[in-house]
Assembly symmetry: D2
Homo-oligomer: 81 residues x 4
């Protein structure tokens, strides 16, 4: 789901509606704070765009990004089942 | 999922973990405010208990409760798929 | 707080930390769904950027945008008090 | 704000409305998961009841509870300012 380009991981996710999109983002927000690694992300209605990169490492993709991406993908797979 | 007893609808839902439970509750919160009908609900870790009754109608079960219960069940069915 | 330019209302808000920013956005999400009018918005850590425009009216600023902007400003004023 | 009785810390908080209450709870949810210490809590419209106790320590009040209580009080003081 996430693709790597220009030293960041990107995903664009679709949901049934805004309420579902926001619930998903809130779950991700909880995971992100726990990992102390926060996405750059945006939302319009049922669409969520996520960019992951590690600023402290000089804006490159690190294991912090890959681990958070995996958590997000795992959560999303349960939504779209 | 919801069962009716003593003039209210009750459900107890389980999730994979706290982050997923809270994301679900946040989706329900959005639906509830939109319907202008709010649950009495509680959370401990991955468990969510919901009680629906219509105070304005004298604490009985009305279509407001049944409609919100249906929306919650529909959302939950996508989580547990 | 919101400024109008190029047929949209824009605001950029700062919070104490990510947890506070996300709590604020969740309150706004609830208000937005109730008004059936959703922002284009993004978040990085404690910063929230919001763009309001009315797509159905041809991407111009309407009272829907002004009303939601006012609600957001009112909520934000309580945070930063 | 929190009071200790029967081996737990209790608080009952009021907000302007449901949207504000839920935003607050979502901030607390993020802090709780980060601390890996979750409240027993309930919500009805603009009222939030929170109980903190440490199950792993045999349902007594520990520093985990006191620390989370302090974070919640700090956050709430900004809302009601």
């Amino acid at each position: 789901m996430f693709v790597e380009r220009e030293n960041a991981l990107y995903a664009e996710l679709q949901f049934a509606d805004f309420a579902e999109a926001w619930g998903f983002m809130t779950s991700v927000a909880i995971l992100a704070e726990k990992a102390n690694h926060h996405p750059e992300w945006s939302n319009v209605y049922n669409t969520v765009k996520i960019k992951l990169t590690t600023h402290d490492a000089g804006n490159i993709v690190t294991d912090k990004d890959r681990n958070l991406a995996r958590s997000i993908e795992s959560l999303y797979s349960r939504y779209s089942a």
